[in-house]
Each structure stands twice: as structure tokens, then as C-alpha cells.
Symmetry: C2
Subunit: 265 residues, 2 copies
DNA sequence: GCAAACCCCGAACGCCATTCGCAATAATCG
DNA sequence: CGATTATTGCGAATGGCGTTCGGGGTTTGC
């Protein structure tokens, strides 16, 4: 009954009023994790940021896991700043970009959220919003879940890959020189070994990696293809599949997603 | 130079031979993590499993991160038990299923591997194997990377979602009764709130969740759609897109992936 | 045969999440 | 209006963690 934090009342009826709210905990935790990394987020650190004693946190939360739950739900709120326009494909594209931008803003979010199911109010609202994209298409509940699941599996997986690539500090992508610079003497050793000819060819020939926006482009292209595959199973959703990718189409939809934000997707 | 473990020699030329190999560390660590969970994996625990002193581990490894690196590469070896048959789509399907099965066998693997780039020998071999699927298709290096990246982003994302769903111990899927049973009084509270009509409808109407193989099916269907979208951009890869999904097609390919293993995909 | 290089590891350090118990506070009840 | 009771804040303590230090033993190359 009360092992779900969202079911417990924020404060009792008796006794002194709590000094903070759950939102206070969530937002300071998010701030710290954003600034110092998720590994630097300790109960002591949160309490310090809040100006409270460490043990006091356990009046608000059963343990660190519930802190994570609060953080995830707080950030989930940022993925809800969007109203669907009626074109499921454009709407899904926009939602995916919005999710990606949010996850890149809070670099700990994707890994944390991918590992658990969250049922906080903002997370539920996000799910509700996502489902609303399919309004009027006549899809069954199962079908909607599969479609959404496929798109967001791709989005989360791709974002995690982006973060992993960037997390390697000075380490970079797969372009020849950047990768060489990172690996020091390991890159040449791999190539010299002759054991990985295709990998070597990719390292040597890759050109896209030099482009500054290559991560965005890869995301847009991949997303577009995933959606093309999904369109296959949506009545009336079959569009002419373009033989060559056109990332600009995704960019357009993405621009619509964050009308006021910078066009960095 | 030597901040990549794969570049450091396993033992020096002088002094006593080390009592263990890196593989010993990797395999005991994997065994412990499989059996007791990744959180139970401590340096002390590994040393105990190895019959060594805790501090001795630091003769083999710079820190716990490198233990993770060894574990990931050890498990990556399990994704290499496959030889492509020449049909890129069937081969990618098989590779995806093989990856999924491996990740489900080692429930810590996906989350760990998704967060970092690994360049151990088995991981490189896995990449090389994956790239070989595109042999003879005339794709550019960039194009191959985007295709592979899209497929594996989906695979990793989907597997993480499956694990998250199962990780919630007794917590289950999205079927009405199972979900209600998990949430205790939270589920009814959500529905009763009336704030999430689409979510409520999905909870109530979902039927697939009752099927025992629903996770496999969702994976197969999603993967098939992703591949359909990718086929769009591969010369000669455009097949007639089926208006309705046919998960059995993916299952067939998957069976081919592990000819000797149990047909549990 | 001997010095340099290497291995093993007990002990210690500082940080962590979590628990316990007590003093302070505020709503409720008699 | 007390007295009761539920609740809050938190100092102190517990046990576990990753990692470092330093010393004693072992093997190799010269």
C-alpha cells in the first residue's frame, strides 16, 4: 500500500510542518546531479544543498531509490511541454526530439529512467501525452503500446549511445583522427593487428563524424526510418518510403516541437 | 598510452607469475553479478570468490571500472556465436535476438554496456561481425554505422525496458489485473483520478499482456518494423511492406540465429 | 649472487547509505 | 486548558564500500 511513494501523503496531520517539500528534494537533487554528475549525488550532498541534516532526508523518502524516483518524475515534466498537432508521425518525431533534448540536458536521466518503471504524476502525464498521438487512428491498446515502445526503445538506446560517446571525456567519435587521438597507441594497434578489417575500413573511411551535427543527423535519420517501419502497420499511414534518407524532414518536425527553443535538433 | 587496459600487458617479465588471469577476474565477477546482482558485486566479494586478498585485485586492474570493462567484454564474447548467412535482414534479426538473449541471461549487462564504449577484443569482434552483415551491399561507412546504430539502439532500449519491467520484482506488465495487483491501491487511485483517460483505457483493454510470450513478440514485431524502415535505405532492400505485422517471420529468423540453443526467442 | 622488478595482502582512510533514539513541535482529545 | 499523540529534525553510530600504503616474499635478468 504505502511502498509506492506517490501513495504516501506528503505530510501528516499532526506535528510540525516539514521544512521542505518533495519537489524541493527533487529539484536540489536534479541540480546537483546536473552540475556534479550522478555519482557525486549522495544523501549528505543533497542534505547540504538543502541546508538540512542528512538523517532528515529519511523523513521525506524511504531511501535513495525514492530520490531517484522523484528526480525522474521531475525531469519527466520537461518532456510534457508539447501539444500534438494531429499528424501522428510529426507528433512522434517532435516528442522523440523533446525527449532527446531533455535527456541530453540531464545527462544522468536516460540511464536512470531506462532501468526502472516510474509512475509519478509527470511520468504518467508524459505517457498520456504520448498515447494521445494515436487518437483517432483506430489502433488497439496493444498496437499503441507496441508502436510507442518501439519508438522510445530506439530513442532511449540512441541517446544512451550518444552519451556514452561523449562521456568518454576527451574521447570522441569514430572518425579516423579523432579516434586515433583518443586511443593513443591502442587505435593503431587495433588497425595494425589486421584482425578487424571492416572496423578498420569504417574508422578510415568515415566522413560524417567530422560534421559538427552528426549526432543530431544520425538521430534524425534513424528516427525517420523507425517511423517509416511503423507506418507500415498503421492504417492509412503508408507513405511513399523515400529511397534516400532526408534528415531535413525530421528537422522540420523537430523545429515544430520546440517553437520557442533554440533549433539545435 | 596505458590508461586503456587492453594495451597493458597482462604480466611483467620479472617477478612471480600472477596467480590469476584477467579472464579469471572477469568470469568470477560475471558469475557473482549473475547470481547476486550487480549491486552485490564488490571488490571484496570478487576477491573472496577468487580466494585472494582484496588489495590484490589492484594488481590486475586500476579500479572497479576496469572490472566492468572486463565483464562487458567477457559477455560480448557470447554475442559472437553466429555466422552470417548472406541475407542482411535475416542476419541482423538473428544478431539482435542473440544480443537480447545474452542481455537477458546477464541482467546487468545491458545497463552497463549501454553507458560506455568498450573496445575489448570480443567487443571489437562483435562489431566486426555486425559489420560483416553488410558485405557486398555497397554501403558507405557512414551508412553502415547509421544502420547498425539504429538497430542496436532499438535492441538495447527494448531490452532495458524488458528488464525494467521484470526488475520490479513481483511487479508486472500493463495488463489490468496484474498491474492492479502490483500497485496495490495506487492503480485504482490513478484510474479513479480521471486524469489519465488514455492510460486507463490501455490498462483496461490491453490483452496481449496476458500472453506468456508477449515480451518476445513485442521485440520481434518492433524489430521487424525497424528493419522494414531500414530496408528503405538499402539498395535492393525494399521489400513489400506488410500492412499487418507478422511476428512469426522474425521468430523464424531468430531460430536460425541459435541453431543449437533452445527456441526461446 | 644480487639487485631490480614484480606479486600478495593486512591495515588503514575517508566516504557512503541507513538506523536509532531523543528533544522539539503542533494538532487532537478529554 | 492540559495531556496525549503523531510527527519533525537530526547528532551519533553502524557496517560496508573503493582505494591506498607499505612491507615481506618471489622470480628474473645480469
Amino acid at each position: 500500500m504505502d511502498d509506492v511513494i506517490w501513495m504516501r501523503p506528503e505530510q501528516g496531520t499532526r506535528g510540525p510542518k516539514p521544512a521542505f517539500s518533495r519537489d524541493d528534494l527533487a529539484h536540489t537533487a536534479v541540480r546537483i546531479a546536473d552540475a556534479e554528475g550522478i555519482d557525486a549525488l549522495s544523501m549528505r550532498r543533497i542534505a547540504a544543498g538543502l541546508g538540512a541534516g542528512t538523517a532528515s532526508l529519511y523523513r521525506y523518502v524511504r531511501g535513495k531509490d525514492e530520490i531517484f524516483e522523484l528526480m525522474i518524475d521531475a525531469v519527466a515534466a520537461e518532456t510534457n511541454d508539447f501539444t500534438p498537432g494531429g499528424d501522428w508521425r510529426a507528433d512522434l518525431t517532435a516528442l522523440a526530439c523533446l525527449y532527446r533534448e531533455t535527456a541530453l540536458r540531464h545527462r544522468w536521466f536516460a540511464a536512470l529512467a531506462a532501468g526502472r518503471q516510474t509512475h509519478g504524476p509527470h511520468s504518467l502525464a508524459a505517457l498520456e501525452l504520448s498515447l494521445s498521438v494515436f487518437d483517432g487512428l483506430g489502433l488497439s491498446a496493444d498496437e499503441m503500446l507496441v508502436c510507442l515502445g518501439t519508438v522510445f526503445a530506439f530513442v532511449r538506446g540512441q541517446v544512451l549511445a550518444e552519451l556514452a560517446e561523449a562521456d568518454a571525456a576527451h574521447r570522441t567519435g569514430l572518425s579516423h583522427d579523432e579516434w586515433m587521438a583518443q586511443q593513443g597507441e591502442y587505435g593503431p594497434a587495433i588497425i595494425a593487428s589486421g584482425r578487424y578489417p571492416r572496423f578498420t575500413r569504417v574508422i578510415v573511411e568515415a566522413e560524417q563524424p567530422h560534421a559538427a551535427d552528426r549526432l543530431e543527423r544520425a538521430f534524425a535519420v534513424g528516427l525517420d526510418r523507425v517511423l517509416t517501419g511503423i507506418a507500415t502497420s498503421i492504417p492509412g499511414g503508408n507513405r511513399a518510403a523515400l529511397p534516400e534518407e532526408n534528415p531535413c524532414c525530421a528537422s522540420k518536425s523537430c523545429e515544430a516541437a520546440s517553437p520557442s527553443g533554440p533549433p539545435n535538433c
